[in-house]
């Protein structure tokens, strides 16, 4: 008995080592497509409604077996880097990791798409348009014409972040919505004074994203920038280091004061999302910053949850970070390109063709409509006069087999596409039933005095080398300058600026400056107008 068991176990072990590759059917090929995975409960990326639909309408007629390969949405930049370097990446990939794309182009590890697009991608070209396509073009053979190394997804809404304040607190304090830093500060201190959120009142929330530590404070500190002293060249050179631009220091000094006065969330550097979410819906916070539609999103609805806990509790958009040197309330917005879509060289030419065909199929309007919206009567209950789905069902309201994710699976379009800019804009607020006006107002604020984020059209070697080091040091910088005693602020600030420069920012700034001088830039300088 024992002997048999041992032999069986050994056999299983050996078998599992052996390759289990199934033999493909005659004439069929398997196309592996990357798919972001957000761990949505009940939604299986590898076996979802959208995959079945694409298989039936695209795969079967073309003798292509589609396979979705899940990549965790939040670890995607690292995971896809490892897959690319390990030569195990899917045949059709996407990433937000610009540095990886630069390296891949440098190593010629991805397909040049010009010929493939011309032959198999008429719908892709029509959907993306010539101007957007240039984002994916890099002139590597230096003949003056860029080669199409990757496809930029089309970003329909360029808004980046919204700022939110408690309308019910304003009402209790008898205040108007703040319009500049002074009135904002008054609101914060008054809220603290009156303990509007109870004993645990924290007037101002702040969260430090470790992958980009200054992300949530840069809009506040940018309000202090002195644009009379900032040249366009500096704006590009310090693209990743706004903390070094003239005036920024006063912004950090202001935050330091708020921290020391107990206005600012003291645990901002400790990654306790659950505690923060809970405090947001318990009504302890008086201000927070997130995506412009975040408070009303169906997956994490801070507004509805707040109403349950606090009678009359209401989040509303606020636009108060007024930069006096420009007299503008600056908002950075995304460029028109979304993530980068590419085909690794590990895919054969046959697979590269299949991948472009698949994307082309995805760009056909009726296919895109299904891939983004799902089935009428299940994922949405009807359409309005513009053909835009209404009564869109949240993920937890539909059965598992019908769960879907528009952006992650239909990745060529970053945002829901209904045929024209007007319709797309009109559609943005529709899913937020009961809060449409709030979402529209919030989106409008997020586009106020907008400037487009900076990118460079040439690989920046120093950013690949030192980007992660600089970011990590910026995190340390932020915690240090906010938490130090006010009389030590100057010393701490100067010390950390020097450290950030030393871990690689100096090289980055230099290389950005060179790229600016050579004209290899995208984005806008708000000081120009």
């Amino acid at each position: 008995m024992r002997k048999t068991l041992a032999i069986v176990l050994a056999a299983i072990m050996l078998l599992s080592c052996a390759s289990l590759t199934a033999f493909a059917e005659e004439g069929w090929i398997t196309l592996r497509v990357e798919a972001f995975d957000r761990n949505i409960a009940g939604f299986n990326v590898e076996d979802c409604m959208q995959l079945h639909y694409a298989q039936e309408h695209f795969g079967d007629p073309n003798h292509i077996k589609l396979v979705f390969v899940p990549f965790s949405r939040w670890d995607e930049p690292t995971l896809i880097t490892n897959a690319m370097f390990g030569q195990t990446a899917p045949d059709l990939c996407m990433t937000y990791n610009g540095e990886l794309i630069n390296q891949a182009i440098d190593d010629e590890a991805i397909w040049v798409l010009d010929d493939l697009l011309n032959e198999y991608g008429p719908n892709i070209k029509a959907f993306l348009g010539d101007e957007l396509l240039t984002y994916g073009q890099v002139d590597t053979d230096e003949d003056g014409v860029g080669e199409q190394w990757y496809l930029p997804a089309r970003r329909l809404s360029v808004t980046n972040v919204g700022n939110f304040i408690r309308q019910d607190w304003l009402d209790k304090l008898g205040m108007e919505k703040p319009t500049d830093l002074e009135s904002f500060e008054k609101y914060l201190y008054a809220a603290k004074e009156a303990n509007l959120g109870g004993q645990q009142t924290i007037p101002m929330h702040l969260d430090l994203y470790e992958s980009n530590p200054l992300y949530n404070v840069v809009r506040l500190t940018d309000a202090f920038l002195d644009f009379s002293q900032i040249t366009e060249e500096d704006w590009y050179a310090y693209a990743r280091n706004h903390e070094m631009l003239p005036g920024s220091k006063e912004g950090y000094r202001w935050l330091n004061k708020l921290y020391n006065d107990g206005i600012l969330y003291e645990n901002f550097a400790i990654n306790d999302d659950a505690a923060q979410d809970s405090a947001l819906v318990q009504g302890y916070f008086g201000f927070f910053t997130m995506q412009p539609d975040q408070p009303w999103r169906t997956d994490k609805n801070y507004q509805i949850e707040l109403e349950k806990n606090v009678e009359g509790g209401k989040w509303t958009t606020v636009n108060c970070f007024l930069n006096e040197s420009l007299n503008k309330r600056l908002h950075d917005v995304y460029a028109a390109n979304g993530m980068s879509i590419f085909i690794p060289k590990t895919a054969s030419e046959e697979l590269a063709v299949a991948a472009i065909k698949y994307l082309d199929w995805m760009c056909v309007p009726e296919n895109m409509f299904f891939m983004q919206n799902g089935i009428e009567g299940i994922n949405y209950l009807g359409v309005n006069e513009d053909g835009i789905p209404i009564d869109v069902q949240s993920a937890d309201a539909v059965a598992d087999e019908y769960k879907m994710h528009a952006g992650d699976i239909c990745f060529i379009s970053n945002g829901l596409f209904y045929g024209s800019d007007e319709k797309n804009a009109a559609a943005i607020a529709i899913p937020f039933k009961g809060y449409e006006d709030e979402v529209v107002a919030s989106n409008a604020d997020a586009l106020c005095d907008k400037w487009t984020q900076i990118s460079f059209t040439v690989p920046i070697q120093a950013e690949t080398d030192f980007g992660s080091m600089v970011k990590s040091k910026q995190g340390e910088f932020l915690t240090a300058v906010l938490r130090c005693a006010p009389d030590q602020f100057d010393a701490v600030y100067d010390d950390y600026i020097e450290q950030i420069l030393n871990v690689g920012a100096r090289d980055m700034i230099e290389e950005f400056r060179e790229a600016y001088k050579a004209g290899n830039i995208r984005g806008t300088f708000p000081g120009n107008e």
Binding site: T81, A109, I270, N271, K345, T464, D465, S472, V503
Partner: protein, 318 residues
């Protein structure tokens, strides 16, 4: 050789050849295959990849096809990365603290467990002590937040409410507090698991020695001091050498999860540094260079520890 063999057999001693032993104990050798395969695949095969430390890794050419660059990678990490010495210092300090505080605990604990008379109580306490070892650091990290976070953590919240402290104890956001927390949580997590080897070593001690000691009038503490501890001394020494050899190695998940930007200067260790400097940005050659450096120092440490213990008359590990 054959002469010797003949002599042995002439004396009536049978000496089995290697193959005879294999045939006789084949089951044991079959069991050995798995660990041997494990070491070949995960420890020896990757060693060839160390050549990456001297190359510039290309996505398309792989490890072998990539271009040789000499010691460029080492020059880069030494000259261009001022965080490396900090990470190195933290690695050594945290490991040293872990060794000094954490090493004796399993010994003491094993002796205490050994003295428990009721086998039921003994088993329950052993299981309870082992449990943390099986928790992932992600879970422990969550627990640490719940317990030690400022204001909302159980400890600070309780002490604040009771009025025993007026300000938070900065477990997570002040360097030295964080170091001790890191060390003690590590001790808590691994102490139970660490007792296993000592317990088996204690079981191996001849019971007659204890009886003899008792007859000589030794009380419990004297028995422990004069019988148990000398009995497990060689085990302690071997584990100590192995631990010293690990001084340069530090896991990734524990400092990464327990750390935060406030204590970056204290929690950045070689593994987290390598992650930033080489893994996230696809500079695997630099990650490999740091790894190679780490291994060489580790080898020097374990050799010297072994040398010293041998000089002190102990057995050593080779």
């Amino acid at each position: 050789m054959s002469v010797k063999k003949d002599k042995l057999s002439a004396r009536g001693v049978t000496r089995t050849s290697f193959w005879q032993a294999v045939v006789r104990d084949w089951r044991l050798y079959v069991m050995l295959i798995l660990p041997v395969v494990f070491y070949i695949i995960f420890c020896y095969k990757p060693m060839a990849g160390l050549v990456l430390a001297f190359k510039k890794y290309s996505m398309t050419k792989g490890i072998w096809g990539s271009k040789w660059v000499g010691v460029d990678n080492f020059e880069f990490i030494i000259n261009k990365m001022p965080d490396l010495p900090i990470a190195l210092g933290n690695t050594l300090l945290l490991n040293f603290m872990g060794l000094v505080v954490g090493f004796p605990v399993p010994v003491v604990l094993a002796i205490m467990l050994n003295e428990i008379r009721s086998s039921g109580v003994k088993r329950v306490s052993q299981t309870l002590l082992y449990l943390p070892h099986f928790l992932s650091w992600v879970i422990i990290g969550g627990m640490v937040l719940q317990i030690f976070a400022p204001t909302t953590g159980v400890v600070n919240a309780t002490l604040l409410r009771m009025g025993w402290i007026s300000q938070n104890i900065p477990f997570l956001d002040e360097g030295n507090h964080w170091r001790w927390l890191y060390t003690l949580v590590g001790v808590w997590q691994s102490m139970g698991w660490g007792t296993i080897l000592y317990l088996s070593a204690i079981t191996g001690i001849n019971m007659e020695l204890f009886e003899a000691a008792k007859i000589d009038g030794a009380n419990k503490l004297q028995q422990i001091w004069h019988v148990t501890l000398p009995g497990i001394r060689s085990t302690i020494v071997v584990l100590l050498i192995l631990n010293i050899g690990q001084m340069m190695n530090i896991s990734f998940d524990r400092p990464y999860i327990m750390g935060n930007p406030t204590v970056q200067r204290y929690c950045d260790v070689l593994s987290t540094f390598v992650y930033r400097a080489g893994i996230t940005n696809g500079k695997f050659e630099r990650a490999t260079a740091v790894g190679l450096f780490q291994s060489v120092v580790g080898l020097i440490m374990i050799s010297s520890a072994n040398f010293v213990t041998k000089r002190l008359g102990e057995e050593g590990i080779w």
